[in-house]
Symmetry: C2
Subunit: 128 residues, 2 copies
DNA sequence: ACTGCTGTATTGTTACACCAATACAGTTCC
DNA sequence: GGAACTGTATTGGTGTAACAATACAGCAGT
């Protein structure tokens, strides 16, 4: 597994990382019981500090996604299963993003489009 | 116009606001020459500090989206035009998001799905 | 001119993200 | 036992986000 950062996002790096790991589990790219790279190793790969990776791991542990075994390493919690509906949705999302790009939309415009849609529908549900 | 914040996003409020204004321009919800609410007025509506709104406005001005007239107010730059291809893409995005929700996906899962897709394709283009 | 609106600027405070560096404490293996 | 790996914890520093509170300065209407 390799991860990327969006440095212009304004979103904390440790959050971006934890979300990407979560996503890898949901799509089956990472499987329950798998061992993740060590704090320092991954930090070096991503060119961030070890504390940042530790924070991401620690967050995932508190969410039940990771099991941190002091002295041994970080392992994906057993009992997690890839979510088939997420896995299936990937093709659809990929197609839409490709299509939007063909139409000349910038990544940021695509992000705003989706974020607006998500916010809109949740706020509508909340009765605004 | 009314705006919302995603407090769990980890993204700065002033960025969220500026992006929503940008989006409103792109989709035609706000038009060139339109006057935006005053710093203090909008801050009260959104329950944030006036400095946060000022920061968002100031950012948009530096990007050429807003024209800040000291003493008069904030106006959308003339010479901006709604982007038809963004406007058209909205329906497609709305349909996909609705579909994903019907399939039982959480908002966060949808966000991860799209962010992963956007990151993946840009990094692929960069030759990783 | 005055009043009331605008954006602008400053100060000070709190909290957090991120970093580097270091030490500490479990685990595994030779 | 000792070496080499793990995660954990602490310290100290930098930069930014966000707040409150205040003052300043431009513009418009009465």
């Amino acid at each position: 597994m390799h991860f990327y950062f969006n440095l212009k996002a304004g979103q904390p790096l440790y959050l971006q990382l934890s979300q990407q790991i979560r996503h890898a589990v949901e799509t089956g790219a990472l499987r329950p019981g798998d061992q993740l790279p060590g704090i320092r190793t991954l930090a070096e790969q991503l060119v961030v500090s070890a504390a940042t990776v530790a924070k991401a791991y620690s967050l995932l542990e508190s969410e039940g996604v990771l099991e941190l075994r002091h002295g041994s390493g970080a392992f994906l919690a057993v009992g997690l299963k890839p979510l088939k509906h997420v896995e299936n949705a990937r093709a659809r999302v990929r197609a839409v993003v490709a299509r939007l790009r063909e139409e000349g939309l910038e990544d940021d415009q695509i992000r705003r489009l989706f974020e607006a849609e998500l916010l809109y529908q949740t706020e509508k549900a909340a009765g605004r």
